[in-house]
Symmetry: C2
């Protein structure tokens, strides 16, 4: 790369959809994580008022849908499907023959690609070490039994871009974990590719139901849909709010927000590849975030030019431009170390390291859903075929949360089988602490095990 005339100190020409900014500017804008939810867009609130009455918040609308499906079952689900999806008198069950038909109808190349995706996701998750264990070193047998969750529901969004890959990325880890019943809900009139993917993943039941009403149906059950034990998968705002509301009754994998990618690139990176990766991210959603961090102003400017060039004849241009303008940017950092530190603070869903010695930098990452090491491991490969699930923590939740993995589909049961001798030795200690907690019946139960008097 040779130095070329840039757009001046700010680096951005007016109207350029992806700006070059310094670290301080980035920290207070695109890299800031607000510690509370953003206000809802006025258009969304107006839409809610029309349907649910004045001053209805999204939470209240979702609470109403969830409660009606809980108490009203299949009829309430049908009513909300008619109301919100505009589909009347829908039998939500998609039958096995339709799944097979969808698979049979798939073009050969797409079918082979999906099959390869299924295989690699399965091969990856089969290697995850998840097993029961016991120890006999603490007196008797103590341990943890790992047990598959019995019945799991997967939400697969429909809408403008159907995502059969999201089905694979949840259903296969569930299958590897040994889940007995895997159920999918996806909005009415699902794309055949979603149905084909369900068939490839040997999903047990598929229902056409979307939004908060689908989450409520899976959590509470209806006459036609047995309730599940856990719900996994991302969706829109209503799906996310519904998952929060049913959490506790069922397990959930997390609360998904808009998707995010950070790319750290140095002068060894190909600006065309980095630009393509940012644009791929930006096409997801107007709220998607695509940020490049680089210590090289040359790289920054080259990527910016490349983004502009590609934008000229890109699909979904308006959406891509909105994402690039509002949540995205190119940040020039003093060095790679600073870029990695910024990435750790941000805790991105995806972090791509297109730098020399990428393996070494990867070891410095403490907060990211997925780390894509080297520019050959681009995020798009992770989205479809690399192996790890593409359902990763967003919104900074990588501070505490993990990508979907086999552990999401099992639970632990602690096993406590003390031998009589250990029990007798420990009982007086338990009684001592119990008395300090004013729990005298606890102390009494312990005293019996220490051979104490029958009180």
């Amino acid at each position: 790369m040779t130095r070329q005339g840039g757009a001046g100190a700010g680096g951005a020409a007016p109207g350029t959809p992806i700006r070059i900014v310094d670290v301080e500017t980035a920290r207070s804008s695109i890299l800031s994580r607000r510690r509370h939810d953003a206000d809802y867009p006025p258009a969304l609130l107006r839409g809610l008022e029309r349907r649910f009455g004045a001053r209805t918040t999204p939470e209240q609308a979702v609470a109403r849908i969830v409660e009606e499906v809980r108490s009203g079952g299949a009829a309430a689900l049908a009513r909300w499907t008619a109301e919100l999806d505009g589909v009347e008198d829908l039998d939500p069950r998609v039958h096995a023959a339709e799944l097979q038909q969808a698979l049979d109808g798939l073009p050969g190349a797409l079918r082979r690609a999906l099959l390869r995706s299924v295989e690699r996701v399965r091969e990856f998750h089969r290697r995850q070490p998840v097993a029961s264990w016991t120890t006999h070193e603490l007196g008797g047998t103590l341990g943890q039994r790992v047990i598959p969750i019995r019945r799991v529901g997967i939400y697969v969004p429909g809408g403008s871009a159907p995502l059969p890959s999201s089905l694979i990325m949840a259903a296969i880890p569930a299958r590897v974990a040994g889940v007995e019943e895997v159920v999918v809900c996806t909005p009415p009139r699902p794309h055949p590719t979603i149905l084909a993917a369900a068939r490839l993943c040997e999903v047990d039941e598929v229902y056409q139901a979307g939004g908060a009403q689908a989450i409520a149906a899976m959590a509470h059950g209806t006459e036609a849909i047995a309730p599940v034990d856990k719900i996994v998968g991302a969706g829109n705002l209503f799906v996310t709010l519904a998952k929060r509301q049913v959490y506790g009754l069922v397990g959930i994998d997390g609360l998904a927000g808009p998707t995010e990618t950070l790319v750290i690139a140095d002068e060894t990176a190909d600006p065309a590849w980095a630009a393509a990766d940012l644009l791929a991210q930006a096409e997801h959603d107007v709220l998607a975030t695509a940020i490049l961090l680089t210590p090289s102003r040359e790289v920054a400017e080259a990527v910016q030019r490349e983004v502009e060039r590609r934008l000229a004849d890109i699909d979904r241009r308006e959406q891509v431009e909105s994402s690039l303008t509002h949540q995205s940017g190119i940040v020039v950092t003093p060095d790679i170390e600073t870029a990695v530190a910024l990435a750790n603070d941000f805790g991105a869903e995806h972090l791509c390291l297109s730098v020399a010695d990428a393996e070494r930098w990867a070891e410095q990452v403490t907060s990211a859903g997925g780390v894509f090491v080297g520019e050959h491991s681009c995020e798009v490969l992770g989205d479809y075929v690399a192996g790890p699930s593409h359902i990763m923590p967003t919104g900074g939740t990588a501070r505490f949360a993990s990508p979907v993995n086999v552990l999401d589909f099992v639970k632990i049961s602690s096993v406590i089988a003390l031998d009589a001798e250990t029990s007798a030795a420990l009982a007086p200690l338990a009684a001592e602490i119990a008395r300090a907690e004013s729990l005298t019946s606890h102390a009494a139960a312990a005293d019996l095990r220490s051979g104490g008097d029958d009180v």
Copy 2:
């Protein structure tokens, strides 16, 4: 045990606080799991109205507290501490010297018991296999990095029965996981034993703050309390509702409800021990559940008599009787197999197997937070010193949730480091699926990796 005259077919004398019932009665009463939250007690709602205004729900009250602490910081925390705990002008920080002082002031026997508890909980959790892994069999390097969560907050209830053991049961697994900063919040004027336990567990920061305001302070931070990444530990209704509301901003371990124990006993069990275990459970809380399942009417009646005998001079008698009368009971089952099946449907927090061949029956358990195998392994030993954490899933959440363990204090970062050859081989497959999802910029980014034209 010899057959003795019982209380007739129903097995229960009028006014007996623990009844003997059959399976069908139990299924529709004490063993039923309502699939939605119970209504709140009128007294609680009246209390809320007095403080928060007419028709305020607990959720709304908690939302107000959380929002005020978020926006008002330390001053709002102090205001709610004064309002709800009746303590004015409180500096929430408990200093290291006070922790040491509390430990130094502990009676020797209690100190030794707590130390032994800490050691065994540590030894148990150190054996839990939690490790990063990689594979080179799928082209390049793929794997999962396991990374400790950086800063964790533990809520330790105060109130009538201070529970230093709960602090140990969360803080030690966190320490084993490698959490850098372990923070404790507990209601104002904490019991010295809680402070001593914090010192023994090498907790980094202790704050006297309780209820929803403490959860809000840990999630959002104040001028004096840095925000945490995850909150763990049980509390009252307000604590639980606050955890639900801040979930997503921070991680949480789960939403705790009242504690529950199921004891399955056969004729090899000592009725006095079984009765003591039920009473220990019942003394926790008026909402606690203590249920005996037995195929032997003799055992049922003997345990009932033993409970009655012990009730005569028990501490907290009113509370124990309320728990026994309303949520508890003795269920006579056709056989052990039926008892285990009922237990699996119920998904109890604690399941105690006081039966012959208990190890074999333990293998049939598919849903329980902890399984206590054999009558020497009583729940009270698990509460304090056995090793596994006593913070276990309640309310049927054992269907999908686990006891607190090392995995609660780590997160996974997926590592995707494909080699160039694998990347080039997979890229056309990714592009194929991307086009099926109408994501053409995804396809373009993949095409670049397959050596395709720079589009």
